[in-house]
Each structure stands twice: as C-alpha cells, then as structure tokens.
C-alpha cells in the first residue's frame, strides 16, 4: 500500500538542497557535513524523497516559539 507520508499533518516539509544551496548552508554555519544533524537512508522520508547519501535536507517544522523552524539534516548510510 502506498501512503503519502507527507500528507500527514504532523509531517514537516522536506526539501533536498541542490549543491549550491548545500554549500551556502555549510558556509553560513561554518561547518562541514559531519557537523550537521544526520538522517538515515532508511528513514521513510528519505526513501520517499529518493535522496542520496550526502544530500542535505531542509526540513521546515512547526515551532512553538518561532512559528516555523528550519533544520538541516545530512543523509547518511
């Protein structure tokens, strides 16, 4: 059965960053991929997005304090 996991209201917004965007994020936070929070290849969201190892996902979550909060997670094996 195919379920669109992103249709669930609790599911945050995901976006795969292209390499330019990814570089600018790393530059903005002055860090390398290994310093970012990680997400597994086996994660349902990663599978659904068909992201590859090393991709950086931009995740926009609802936030109690800020309304919306943007997180970045790097896809790992």
């Amino acid at each position: 059965m195919d379920i669109d996991i992103f249709a669930n209201r609790l599911s945050p917004k995901y976006k795969i960053l292209d390499s330019n965007e990814a570089d600018s994020i790393l530059l903005r936070f002055k860090c390398s991929r290994s310093n970012l929070p990680k997400i597994r290849m086996a994660d349902p969201a990663v599978i659904a997005l068909k992201a590859n190892e090393g991709d950086i996902l931009e995740i926009t979550r609802a936030s109690k304090t800020a309304g919306e909060a943007v997180y970045y997670r790097v896809v790992i094996r």
């Binding site: 903005r28 936070f29 002055k30 860090c31 310093n35 970012l36 929070p37 936030s63 109690k64 304090t65 800020a66 909060a69 943007v70 997180y71 970045y72």
Partner: protein, 840 residues
C-alpha cells in the same frame, strides 16, 4: 607553563594490559633488596635496604644514585626482591583457579578438542570485529566455562581430577594441598598456543607469572617517610609492609638453607604469603586484616586505587581547591543581595594576587606594612616568579623592593568579586559572582532574597566561596556570572531573586490604599531602607514612599496577587512616571518566581537597578512589618455559621447520594463515589472561600498577597478535610471487609471508607486521625522514594547536555556539532524577554 626539552611528545596508539614477568621485574629493577634494615646507625639508608638511594630520593638536597636527579626531577625507580619460595598474587587467584581447571592436569593442554579450537580462532576474531573486546571477553568466558566441565583430556585422554579452591588461597587437588610452587609448575605447562583461548598472551601475560618468584619493590617516591616535628622519621604503610615481607623472606631463606624441618618452612612460607597478600590488598575475605600497633588498618596498594578516596574518584575526577573557603550560612537582610558576608578569619587567610602598578603601589605597600593585621598582604611574587613571605624580618626589605610589576598576595577586601556556590550544583545559577563584605562572626552571610537559585536555607546549610586568581576569571564573575545579572531565570523568564513571605506581607501593608505615615516615621523608614530624599510634606501615603524606589520614567501596569483574587480595582497595579498610582505590591509583582515588576525592571533597566530596588524594597517591607505588626490568630479561621451549615449540607447531600448509588449497585460504583468525593471537596473549598471573613484576617491577607498559604491549606483547616486516599483510591484495607473494627463489614459508605468530616482546627476523632495518618504516610513515602529518582534523572539529563553552548551565530552546538540551528528556534534570550515572548 614552561615546555621542557625532557618531554617526549608522542601519540598513544594503544594500551596493553598484562602481568609483569619475573624477567621484566628484574630488568626494570635498579636494586636487589637484600636487607630489611632501612637506615644504619648514622641514619643513612642501607644499601640493598628498602630506603636504598637507588630507589629514588625523598630528601631535598640529595641526589638519586640511579638517575642523578634531585627530588624535583627523580621519578623514583623500582627495585626487586628475590623470593625464597614463590607466592600467589592474591588478585590473580580467581584466574589461576580457572586456568587449573580448564587445562589438563597431566599434559597442560586446554580441555577442549582440537576440532573446536580450530573453529574457535576464527569465531573469536569475528566476534571481536563485530562486538568489540567485550564480546571477545564474553566468548572466552564461555570457552573457559566449557573447558572446566570436561572430565577427560581430549589430547592425552587422561582422567581429570578437579582442583578445589579453599579461600583465600589454598588449592586442593586430589585431597592434597597444592603449594604455590606446584601451581606454578602446572601453569608453566600450559602451551603458548592455548593461551589465546584463555584470554592470555604469551608476550604479556604467561600464566605462571601470576605466581610471584620475584616481587617488584615500588620506589620510595610513592612511599616517602614523613619527618615528624620531633625529628623522628615515620615510615609509610607500604614500607612497613615491605619490611615484613623482606624479613620473613630472609628467615625463610635461612631456614631452607639450614635444612630446617618441613613444618617450620611451611609456616614461614604461609607467613610470607600473608604479608605479600596484605601488601596488595587488605580487604580479602578470610585474610586477617593487617594493622598498625594502634589498631589502624594499613593502607595497601589496592586502597590507593579503589573507592571514593582512591586515585580515580578521589584524585582524578575530583580535587581540592586552593583559595576557597566553606562555612555554614546564615541570613542577613541588611547586606545587599549581591553581597556575601565573609568572616574576618576567612578574609585574612584567603588571598588575591594583585599586580602592583603606579596607581595602587602605595595602597599595596600599606597592606604589606600591616602584614599581621587586617587588611594585610602575606606574600609578594617578584617578576621572576619568586614567592617571598612577608614576616617581621622581611617586611623592610620587601617594602623597599616592591615596585610595579610585582604581584602582592593580599587579603580579601570589601568589594572583591568572588564566586559563591552551594552543592549540589544543579544549574549554572548554583555558582554566581558576589561582592565581598567582611563581617564579624564565623558564618557566611547571604541576603535571604538570593537563596532560591542556590536552593539554600539556614538549617545548617554550608556554602563555598572561591577567590578568583586571574583578571579574566574576575571579569567573568563580575559581569557574566554576577548575581545581579542573573536575577531573571533563563528557563522561564521570571525573577529567581525577590521577596518572599514577610517581605511580601510588609510591602503589601505598605502599599495598601489607607496606609499613611507621618514625617518622622517616614524618616525612620527611609533611613532604614537607605533612601536619601528631601521630605517636604507632613504626611505620606505608603504608595508615595514605595514610589521613591522606582526609576523616574517607569511606566508599568500589571495584576497584583490580590487583584487576581478579589478583582478589586484598587489592587490593580498602575505605575505612571515612577509613581505608584494604585495597586498593591505583592507576590505577583515582586515575589520569587513570580514578580512581573522585577522582570520588567530587569529587562528595561538592567540588573543594577533591579538589585538596588529589591534591596531597598525588602528593607522597606521589613521595617513596615516591624512598625505595623502582623499577627495571625485562630479566629482567622472562623467561618460564619451559615458557611459551616452549608459545608455540613454538602456532606449530607453527598452521603445520601452515595447511599442511593450503593442501593442500585453497578460495577463502576466505586469510581463514581471517588468522583463524588472530589466534587464534595471542590464544593467545600468554594463554600469556604466564600465564607472567609476578610475583615482584619491576617491569614487571608497572607493568602491573597501570595505571602504564604492558599485556599488548599485553608479549607481543610477551617472547613472539612474530606476523603483520605491510598494509592489514588478510597481506603479499603485493614480488617476483613472494613478499615478498622469500628465499622460494619462491607459498608462502602463515605465515612467507613476514610472520609474525614472534621477539620484541623476543631480536631479529628481518633478513627479519622488514624486514617488521615495513613494517607500522610503514603505522601511521606512517595516523597522519600521519588526525590532521589527524579534527582538522578535530572542529573543524567544535565550530564548529557552539559557541553551544549550557544555559538556566535545563535546556533546551539556540542563542540562543532550543530544541535539546533537557532537557540530555542527563535533565538531569544528568555531572561531578557517577556516570559519567553518578544514584547515590542
């Protein structure tokens, strides 16, 4: 720190743990110990004795005969003692026991067939790569367990007799005692090839090395003699034990040489074994404890490592700090909340190194001159780092010598910034910067307004101060860590420092609408509070006096606690241009973990203003309360006849409802009754609240101002206590079908199941009292059990999060690893916000 060319810089690749071989012991030894004497008649160390100068140096001025260094650089050197007969290392007994039973008693091979061994090598490697060294250890333990259960050697097919261990260190084989030599012989027979299956290694841990033939003698530097005031030398416990070992060993050797009877040799051998055992460990079961003549336990090698005071927990994870002091705390409302009262004795003893400059040199010189008084200086440090003590005989020279660039260690002075701390240090506010106020007495004094962040009270609590020794640390303590800048909590944005109890009552009385004071009283008040203003009126209202504390441009509006309670418009706080127009200043505006006014002041005017405000206000509140007085009395709990009747009716109605419920029995009846008892409690509470006589009722004043107590304490005191619960249900256990023998069996009504109709003021009847005590006991038990559990949980959480910090770009990081891209997702400093929100 100075880099010394003697240092060798290398990266540690790994650590191999093993057993020292006799050859290794001899190789690393610089002396063979031959004499049990320490010193000769002239007091010089005997060659080959336990204080031999080749073992290292403990006296300043002497030179080590092994390395040629003085006491400062000589690390100490091992010696060795050739044992006349081998003895066991007590710590190796369990391993030896395993080895003896896991190997063949005739051929020495491991008691596992070759076919399995061949596979075991690869399995072991696989487990090690998969599960790491611990997995390998588990596997080896399984192998040994298996080998111990086999009765016929798979290699030489001989029948196996198992060795029995008679604690502490006797091995019985076939009914006969194996001595250390026999055991060593058997261990020698174990082949190198089998060692890997036993968790050993031929290069680092041959099994026979677990039996000493040569004993390593630790360097004197780890067991230095202490010179007593009488000039006599007192030897270390380890040295005492070593002399016993050497002496016994000598006697044993002589007896063997002279061909003494076997019994005597056996006896001495056992004695040697005992001494070697108690040299290593003094806590082995069934080994008598070695003691001093005074009966004090000897400190053994094991004691130095093990336990709370051992090397790891005592020396590596925790250390004693210099420039610190500790004492009982007591309250002092007359010092500022950012001060700490320091006893003169502490202020004299604990020093701060102040660097001399053109500006302060004269002041420092006067401190040096006053070296035996207070304020004083006790040492000076020259620019080349030489410390000179200031004494009667050195003052003159030092006074002439001191010039800018010198460092003077002077006593604590009023206004110095120090750190103040109370354990357990659960959050960052457990250690804050305070300003010193030297006082008489022996306790550390703290303003009661500042107790909450430390969780301190005055029932015997002790606290620590740390005098900062560098300018950088001082700057941090004076600014970032200063208590004045930490009045508002970073957790919820409310002030942790503020008024409590009496101070709230006092300020509420002061700011009541009808409080009026004549000029001379106002003078008293203002003097006490430390406010300097010109008075030009003959009478003042309390609110006018309060307004004198406020910044002239302050505008503030907020609910007071009284307003929340009574919706009395006059109690609603309005401050315009620094004037309190109306409102009662109570816990909702100035209370700890509450005060909206304090929070507003802190955000708008900063810590300095807020601290000054709290200080002046609490003194004002104090003298108000002193002058006006406030006494509660038992009549404060009087409820009108009408209310008492109402409460009685509420109970009667409830009781009837229960009875009718019980008549029409259904399975949820107990639940329904429980819900009903809660409803009764709620109705009693509301009826009580309605009925309180508010006229001249100090208890009510304390409740409404938030000084102390609430309706939850009031209604069981004045109205009705209500249902007693045990494990969240009505009480039911005791006698068969009833709580006590005073009730009918299986009566499920209100009173037979623990409903208390009385109140605290009128008193409970004996049965009510008993059942009420049951409920209270549960509360106490829960508290006792829950406190350490939740404490441990929060400790684990703190430990997991302790390295998080907010980076310059407001991201939260652990090291360089990003945990949160924006602190709190909105990047706000809660302590500078409006209770976590942005208020523009």
């Amino acid at each position: 720190m100075r880099l010394d060319s003697n240092f060798v810089f290398n990266k540690i690749f790994g650590i191999e743990f093993g057993v020292l071989s006799p050859r290794m012991i001899e190789k690393m030894s610089s002396v063979a110990i031959t004499s049990s004497e320490l010193y000769d008649i002239d007091g010089f160390p005997v060659d080959g004795g336990l204080a031999d100068m080749r073992l290292g140096i403990t006296d300043p001025g002497l030179i080590c005969r092994t390395c040629g260094n003085t006491i400062k650089d000589c690390p100490g050197h091992f010696g060795h003692l050739e044992l006349a007969r081998p003895v066991f290392n007590i710590k190796m007994i369990p391993k030896i026991y395993d080895l003896l039973n896991a190997t063949c008693d005739s051929c020495g091979r491991i008691l596992i067939p070759d076919s399995i061994l061949k596979k075991a090598t690869t399995t072991m490697d696989n487990i090690e790569t998969r599960e790491g060294p611990l997995g390998k250890k588990r596997y080896i333990r399984k192998l040994i367990k298996h080998a111990k259960s086999i009765n016929t050697c798979p290699f030489c097919h001989s029948k196996q007799h198992k060795v029995k261990l008679e604690k502490p260190y006797a091995f019985i084989y076939n009914g006969q005692k194996l001595n250390a030599s026999d055991v060593r012989e058997r261990l020698e027979r174990i082949s190198d090839a089998d060692l890997q299956f036993l968790g050993l290694n031929q290069d680092y841990s041959r099994p026979e090395w677990m039996v000493f033939t040569v004993l390593p003698i630790p360097p004197v530097t780890i067991r230095p003699p202490i010179t007593l005031e009488s000039g006599q030398k007192s030897e270390d416990d380890l040295t005492h034990k070593l002399t016993d070992i050497v002496r016994t060993n000598q006697r044993l050797a002589e007896n063997i040489k002279s061909g003494a009877p076997e019994v005597i040799i056996e006896e001495l051998w056992d004695l040697l074994q005992y001494h070697v055992t108690t040299f290593i460990s003094n806590g082995t079961a069934q080994v008598p404890i070695a003691r001093h003549k005074s009966g004090k336990k000897l400190k053994t090698l094991e004691d130095r490592i093990k336990g709370k005071e051992g090397r790891f927990r005592g020396s590596t994870l925790g250390k004693r700090a210099n420039y610190s002091a500790r004492s009982t705390i007591s309250p002092d409302p007359m010092i500022r909340l950012d001060e700490v009262g320091v006893p003169l004795q502490i202020a004299r003893e604990v020093t701060y190194p102040e660097r001399a400059t053109e500006i302060n040199i004269e002041r420092l010189k006067s401190l040096i001159k006053n070296f035996d008084g207070y304020p004083n200086a006790s040492y000076v440090i020259t620019p080349d780092g030489i410390r000179k003590k200031i004494t009667e005989s050195t003052v003159q020279n030092i006074l002439e010598e001191v010039k800018p660039g010198y460092v003077v260690e002077r006593s604590m002075l009023n206004g110095d910034i120090i750190l103040f701390n109370r354990q357990p240090s659960l959050h960052r506010l457990s250690m804050m910067g305070h300003s010193v106020r030297v006082l008489e007495g022996k306790t550390l004094r703290i303003n009661p307004a500042s107790t909450l962040p430390y969780n301190a009270d005055f029932d015997g609590d002790e606290m620590n101060i740390n005098v900062l020794q560098t300018e950088e640390a001082l700057a941090e303590a004076a600014l970032i860590m200063n208590i004045k800048n930490n009045i508002v909590s970073p957790r919820h944005g409310l002030p942790l420092i503020g008024a409590a109890q009496d101070y709230i009552s006092g300020s509420a009385i002061l700011t009541r609408k009808d409080t009026k004071l004549d000029k001379s009283t106002v003078e008293d008040f203002l003097t006490f509070a430390g406010i300097d203003t010109k008075l030009n009126k003959s009478t003042y209202t309390g609110r006018e006096i309060f307004s004198m504390l406020l910044p002239k441009d302050l505008n503030f509006e907020g609910e007071s606690s009284v307003y929340k309670y009574s919706k009395d418009e006059d109690a609603y706080v309005v401050i315009k241009n620094g004037k309190l127009e109306k409102g009662i200043i109570d816990s909702a505006t100035i209370g700890k973990e509450n005060g909206s006014l304090l929070q507003y002041l802190f955000v708008q005017y900063g810590g300095e203003t807020t601290a000054k405000f709290i200080d002046q206000l609490s003194r004002l509140a104090l003298i108000t309360l002193t002058k006006f007085g406030m006494s509660a009395n038992i009549a404060n709990f009087d409820l009108p006849e009408r209310t008492m009747g109402e409460i009685h009716k509420i109970f009667e109605e409830g009781n009837e409802e229960v009875n009718s419920m019980l008549k029409n029995y259904d399975k949820d009846v107990e639940q329904k009754i429980l819900a009903l008892t809660n409803k009764i409690r709620g109705r009693v509470r509301n009826a009580t609240r309605e009925g309180i006589n508010e006229n001249r009722n100090e208890i009510n004043d304390m409740m409404t101002t938030g000084a102390k107590g609430s309706i939850m304490n009031f209604f069981p005191t004045a109205g009705m206590i209500g249902q007693q619960l045990l494990r969240d249900v009505r009480m039911s256990n005791g006698y068969e079908g009833r709580l006590t023998s005073h009730f009918k069996r299986n009566d499920m009504g209100l009173i037979p199941r623990g409903f208390v109709v009385s109140n605290y003021r009128d008193g409970l009847n004996p049965i009510e009292f008993f059942l009420h005590a049951g409920s209270s006991r549960e509360g106490l038990m829960d508290n006792v059990i829950r406190t350490p559990v939740s404490g441990y949980m929060s400790r684990r959480l703190s430990s997991a999060l302790q390295d998080l910090k907010i980076a310059e770009d407001l991201s939260v990081r652990e090291g360089n690893k990003i945990v949160q891209f924006m602190y709190g997702e909105d990047g706000l400093d809660v302590s500078l916000s409006d209770k976590g929100d942005l208020n523009i």
